[in-house]
Symmetry: C2
Subunit: 334 residues, 2 copies
């Protein structure tokens, strides 16, 4: 490892036990690389960071208005949520407006991310449903688009389905990556995911916040998504979650979204910036520390804000007994 490497260290006792490497691209709405670390053109999947972009066609198509989706519901469409009561209820609300049920969601079921909610459910003998899946908002939004298009709800997860084609088109346009150059894979929840260089994903995030070079319909949809997330940050993630805290702590100045395998994307609308950070090995434990550190070093977070995010910046490592045995700390200079 070279001293110049952009890393996050996992300490146990006095020594580094494990190390994570960081790749970063910060761009403006023209796609110009303003700051970088590691490989700013690293090819990887956007995973759930694409959700903000994927929400665009739900609005642009008229589906959101047709079914009367509210701003909390729009926020939930962008979410990897905690499966808390409000999230489950909002997902059910969207489905109700479509005349559909949780059985129409094909995302599968998993325990709520929110540990106290999961624990309470176990104690009450409740089994998680598709509504508790962190992607249930996105899938409900896809079903809204599907219903509005009059397309089949059985196959909405297939890349050939009109819903997924509109998602691909939106991501492709926002990232300036032609659809035939977009790498495709399957996400944890079964739908297509989009693979592209991280600087291209950062471009999509610069644009969604600052609206440059966008036509009126798209600009309006972007404004609605950003406004929904500023108004309902809890619906983007939930209790004790970084995405929610980042919006709250910055009073909506920064809007960020985590994705599986250690990818993080954020927009700073007023500065016209898009920022994407990827932990090379995909481990989420290094992601929030690296994001806070990078934002701090770039002067994009103030000291009080960094302090408010301290538990994400330099988290403690505990053992089975709950004893603190180490901590995670970024070690780099941009």
């Amino acid at each position: 490892m070279k001293p110049s490497d952009t890393i996050v260290r996992v300490y146990r006792g006095a020594i580094t036990e494990s190390t994570h490497r960081v790749h970063l691209a910060v761009v403006n709405t023209a796609g110009t690389l303003l700051h970088q670390a590691g490989d700013p053109h690293l090819l990887t999947f956007a995973r759930s960071t694409a959700k903000l972009i994927q929400a665009l066609p739900i609005i642009e198509s008229g589906a959101a208005d047709h079914f009367g989706l509210g701003e909390a519901e729009i926020a939930l469409c962008c979410a990897s949520h905690n499966g808390e009561a409000e999230h489950v209820s909002a997902a059910q609300g969207i489905l109700g407006k479509l005349g559909l049920t949780p059985q129409h969601l094909q995302c599968g079921a998993h325990d709520p991310y929110h540990a106290p909610t999961a624990q309470a459910m176990r104690e009450q003998g409740m089994v998680p449903t598709t509504l508790h899946n962190n992607c249930s908002g996105k899938h409900s939004g896809m079903l809204a688009l599907c219903a509005h298009l009059g397309a089949s709800p059985e196959t909405y997860m297939s890349i050939g389905h009109p819903v997924q084609q509109l998602m691909l088109k939106a991501v492709s346009e926002m990232a300036s990556v032609p659809t035939n150059q977009m790498q495709l894979g399957i996400d944890g929840c079964g739908v297509p995911v989009f693979g592209m260089p991280i600087n291209k994903l950062a471009l999509a995030y610069a644009r969604i916040g600052s609206l440059d070079e966008l036509d009126a319909t798209r600009a309006s949809a972007c404004r609605r998504i950003i406004a929904a997330l500023r108004q309902y940050p809890h619906y983007l993630a939930g209790s004790d979650r970084f995405d929610t805290s980042l919006i709250e702590v910055t009073n909506g100045r920064i809007i960020g979204k985590m994705g599986a395998e250690g990818i993080y994307a954020l927009t700073i609308p007023e500065q016209g910036l898009g920022f994407v950070l990827k932990i090379e090995d995909g481990n989420q434990r290094a992601m929030y520390p690296a994001v806070v550190e990078a934002l701090m070093q770039l002067g994009l977070l103030q000291e009080l804000e960094v302090n408010a995010l301290a538990s994400y910046h330099i988290p403690s490592v505990h053992n089975w007994q709950g004893t603190k045995v180490g901590y995670i700390q970024p070690d780099f200079h941009l």
Copy 2:
């Protein structure tokens, strides 16, 4: 990343989504480095790979014989076990011979590693105990040593306790790392862990298998541990676990032990080799693929054996629905 880097790729669809870096040291009983990758002197913690060495004082002190520990119980002292019925029963057996109870184990409780066992317990409303902790064998062995020494069982986890001092001495001697140069931390289960360069841990593993340079008492204890693990590989880990499979597939020719944070140590007694591999970022998902690939490239595993370990060598990645969405594959040439 350079083409010469020793890496394991995590594929989703057609592209690499995340990458893990590998450090490797293979040494003989003189500590000579025979093969290497990355940094063969990387400083990190041995974690549970130290358990085979930590079992030495339990035997050398006479504690094992005094309390009549059997070979399956010796194997369990070396284990990060699955918490299956045999493991729980063997740990309880050791405690019974000491006149102690599971309440004397200070390792804490967690769900059995073996998912079907954990699931069955949940369905029956059973709560995991200290016996289900993957370290319950090691802790029971520590209590055996403690009882034999006539020391206090309340404080057996403290570094100043005679039990931990004997553990430190054994690890220090086997690795040729002076006790005052050994890095100390606290493990997931609360006891001290030992930090040293990976080539030094590899030396300890070369010696435990081939007995070179060891006095008669230590050589006898090493032989007993190796024999116990060859006879009872299931007690080292359990069903669907690499450590157990590696011994079974090689008919005891290779004996290896996993540790948390992506460290793997193994001995090939008949060749006088010790081998330690560390995933830089600590992620276990890359560890078994890298171990099998490295052993194969070094000619230490035969083709039929590699085939028998295929699910560890190139494991599939599945999503929530169980669909295969990718795979993990080593990409290096030693």
